[in-house]
Symmetry: C2
Subunit: 601 residues, 2 copies
């Protein structure tokens, strides 16, 4: 583990290195140092010892230098490049990259992200405590700081879906003891918090008692509810989509983690929101969810900083939002600045507005150079990666046929209807559909497709059926074990044969995404680690994901930027209004299950 | 004790108060709220429950209000006054006010200081652990937040002076367990820190291991030494006197507590220093040492804020430096802002540039109104206040005569010479002085006076003699048990009879300050609590101190703003160059004792 605090036995040696009575391990010479305490930029040298900055030598006031140059065992000539602290992602689900922590590190470290504050919420919903411990264990020896928040809402919507685990205060307290556990991850169940539900009150109490950082999640909250949420304990929010939301949250003392994920791009609004504010220190930046192709082509936190600058933020302010502000908000007192006593997590870049690191250092070690990893990652290999988490029975074609309470004629059927081809907002609508031989016949309705969510955790065969309208898929079947937030197996299909084909393929892969048409697999993306992640190298994974997106577009999802999420969000029981879980169709607003055939309830 | 964190049992009720399903205890209506997160000022109402802010209702964007007005059991109409957080003193020695904690609270709370981060360094040097526990105990039930730092350097200069206590890591660890102990107080022994002296290394290690706040003290440090000091652990400094020092320290990541004490006025320089900096969040404000008259006439933290504004700081920035910045630096997550979840420590004032609080609230309770206390202080009365800490033998006139190694003629004598009448900087000079009957005769030398420091702690009669030149006192004797930092009994005198007179008076008072001339006491200021503090009401004490200053001016110290400190600083073994302790004359720069008669060593 990369130490985040100076080891007691190294402290005096660091003092000696600063004084010059001991050689530094490394001296970075001739860098344009960006001082985030003052906003100044000046030429200077930085001495590093045991992973921490011992001394910064510069002459910002032009007084002439009197000190002896720093002596080091190694030297790097920065050649006048800008030197800034490594970027910190204030909130990220690594699972959304579909990469294991090691592969994720390989992908993002060269872009300048040196610390991630992770929330293993997705994998926790699959495999609980064991999964969180896995994410913690395999990130221990990576050349990047993985600081973990304990998922607070597993499952997200208790009683309306069945995930692979349920966290109560006992699990939370247990996981808060992990070495790199910072605090509590996004407290999504804000209605529960405001109502004072026992589960959430106890979980918050445990984190508060330990003085831990509590990350919030408060979409659309304002006024009294926002104050109540803040008073309950959560300190931050990354769900602010509008200018007004950002303004109100910062005023209420909430730290706004402006998000630029693959799906939600909120940085522009956040930057507009703070334009007339005298202070920016309540603003940080995060990626939340970025998919593989996005990371490999656009970048990671460097892309978020770039977006903030394009949106109007001063580059030094933007960098501060992605470093010092986040470190302070999370209580990370050695991260986020180029100054003595701070961790030597550093980026050398030619451009502050468009950071493409020439070099990335973590704890004083060169880990990436010109976009390529230099550090070698120890081969991960963890028993958890061998577990097949897709425990599903009943995948023959007949298992995907929905019996109807009538034999012929028509039946009133409740259908999940998409408002448009881009957003995942849905409603219920009732349709009078044709019945033939005891089954619905939707062959004459290209706007309708079948959908099923099969519990893959309990092996109990529990499944919920539904019909979706205007989802975009015109033919074939699309299945995925990435299905927020419980990550059960979801399949949208035109006929039972294609569904069976996809289901069998996903079971065979041990999880992943698969498409079929005409009873033939068109494309498959194996995600065998928890049904969410792959151990493939990032480039291979991104290419496979890109092929999968092409196929999905062929099947009808051509308008979507990321068609992978179309299916994965059908199950997301916290977004209004009509969703499907393994327990059936859910009215999100009313928070109750609804029958498919309302007349035969 | 006023809770600084929301009590677990109150949390849900606070949430309910925010939501409006429960009445607030108090609603402050129609206030101009100063939002320190944004820098905005807007009209609004603030709801308070159980000492914390539940909700802030305003309409900063002019959208029109839709919420129901806040319902409260009590209401205050602010009538459009500004509402700001209570001021926080980043570093203060209460002993310098000569008031006990209760009396100090009475004096400063009406000026708007609601939190003090105290360093009981002076009283700790007198009576050690017991004294620190006393300061902690008697501040427990005061209507003001007394947060304590554990004195780190008792005595300040080990081996060169004898104080009433010596703190090693055991005492520090013990005191860090006190309920309101925040961390370690000003680490004054910076040479020891840089050298890696065992005592300081162990003390820092103890504080670092507990993740405690470590307050620094780094006068004149710059360059490598400054970096080394910061790397060793201390986070702040209140000893920056020049613009350059402030700039260099902020660049190095040090929090600069700009000081406006009675003796050292550094705020103007600090404000000039940060003029071109993009960020100010490393700047805080403090009083360090303020004497009674100064507090009663000029004020306390409100005076420091006023000075910062006069020096050019934007009023909202100045208030932020005196509230939110300090809270953040010290890890006080519920202090320093008017926002939900923050403690309801609040000031209502008509003027932001010259804060004279109309009302002061602590934890939602009105404690002062228009400069007068409203809260009643429980009568203190603590056994420590009854202890006579002046344990001195040998106070007859003959005990103040200095034997000389020759009987007649002259002898080369080392003398402490003041550079001028205002600063306390001194040097050694050798003089050829007349000897009569085995004693020095200085009757023909009005520029010379005798000085003695008598150990008052050990009762061992240890005393160090010296001669002072150009100190300012022209006649009589001035004695004090306020004598930094060991607070032994120091007397400067023209003849042994006057010295004996003063010594007897101070012993009789159990400590304090006394002046005599012609064997008659001219004025006395009893400080019976540890020889440093009085239980008198602030106004009475300030009047007595003012009379004492008049008398001292009569005796020759007319040019000094605060003549009380002239004698008290003669013993201050950390200020260059020539000082007097109970062990004799000290060469501060060389850190060694020097003989009075160098030819007879």
């Amino acid at each position: 583990v990369i130490p985040i605090r100076i080891e007691p036995q190294d402290r005096q040696a660091l003092v000696e290195a600063a004084l010059g009575v001991r050689k530094c391990d490394l001296v970075i010479e001739n860098a344009r140092i960006v001082n985030l305490f003052t906003g100044e930029i000046y030429l200077g040298d930085v001495g590093i010892y045991a992973g921490f900055i011992a001394h910064v030598q510069g002459d910002p006031d032009g007084l002439g230098r009197s000190e002896e140059p720093l002596a080091g065992i190694q030297h790097i000539d920065a050649g006048g490049l800008f030197l800034i602290p490594g970027l910190i992602d204030a909130h990220v689900h690594i699972e959304s990259s579909m990469m294991t922590p090691a592969r994720f590190t390989e992908a993002v470290l060269p872009t300048g992200t040196t610390t991630v504050i992770t929330d293993p919420h997705e994998i926790a919903n699959v495999a609980g405590v064991e999964a969180v411990e896995y994410m913690h264990a395999v990130s221990a020896d990576l050349p990047m700081r993985h600081l973990l928040l304990v998922p607070s809402c597993v499952p997200s919507v208790p009683g309306k879906e069945q995930s692979g685990a349920a966290f109560n205060v006992q699990e939370i307290e247990h996981l808060l003891q992990l070495e790199r556990a910072l605090g509590l991850a996004e407290v999504m169940d804000y209605p529960g918090v405001l109502r004072g539900d026992r589960r959430m009150v106890n979980i918050l109490k445990a984190a508060l008692a330990g003085g831990r950082f509590i990350q919030g999640h408060a979409p659309f909250l304002s006024g009294r509810e926002l104050s109540a949420y803040r008073a309950a304990g959560p300190l931050s929010d990354h769900e602010s989509r509008t200018i007004q939301e950002v303004r109100d949250k910062i005023r209420a003392g909430i730290v706004v983690d402006a998000r630029e994920s693959s799906g939600s791009r909120n940085v522009e609004a956040a930057v507009s929101a703070v334009g007339d504010f005298r202070y920016l220190d309540q603003l940080t930046l995060c990626t939340d969810d970025r998919e593989p192709e996005d990371i490999l082509t656009a970048g990671h936190m460097n892309d978020v900083v770039r977006k903030a600058v394009i949106s109007g933020l001063h580059p030094v302010d933007a960098i501060r939002c992605a470093t010092l502000h986040t470190a302070r908000a999370a209580g990370l007192s050695t991260l986020g600045a180029v100054a003595p006593g701070y961790a030597a997590d550093l980026i050398l870049t030619a451009d502050l507005e468009d950071i493409r690191p020439e070099m990335v250092l973590v704890a004083g070690q060169l880990v990436a150079k010109q976009g390529t990893m230099v550090a070698t990652l120890k081969p991960a290999g963890h028993p958890f990666e061998q577990i097949n988490t897709v425990d599903v029975q009943g995948i023959r074609a007949e298992d995907f046929r929905v019996p109807v309470p009538v034999t012929h004629g028509t039946v009133k059927t409740r259908v999940i209807v998409y408002r448009d081809l881009l957003s995942s907002t849905t409603d219920f609508v009732d349709e009078e559909l044709t019945v033939r031989n005891g089954y619905l016949d939707i062959t004459g309705r290209p706007d309708l497709k079948w959908a099923v969510v099969i519990n893959r955790h309990a092996g109990n065969g529990q499944r919920g059926f539904g019909l979706v309208k205007n989802m975009g898929i015109v033919r074939g079947a699309v299945g995925s074990t990435v299905a927020h937030d419980c990550h059960n197996l979801v399949i949208v299909y035109d006929n039972p044969e294609n569904a069976a084909c996809v289901a069998a393929d996903i079971v065979a892969m041990g999880g992943g995404i698969s498409c079929a048409a005409d009873q033939r697999i068109l494309e498959r993306l194996p995600l065998p680690v928890g049904g969410l992640m792959s151990t493939w190298p990032p480039a291979k994974l991104a290419a496979a994901a890109a092929r999968m997106k092409c196929v999905m577009r062929d099947l009808g999802l051509q308008e979507m930027k990321n068609p992978l999420l179309r299916v994965a969000f059908l199950t997301l029981a916290v977004i209004p209004n009509a969703k499907l879980t393994d327990l059936g169709m859910l009215d999100v607003t009313a928070q109750k299950m609804v029958p498919m055939f309302p007349e035969y309830q």
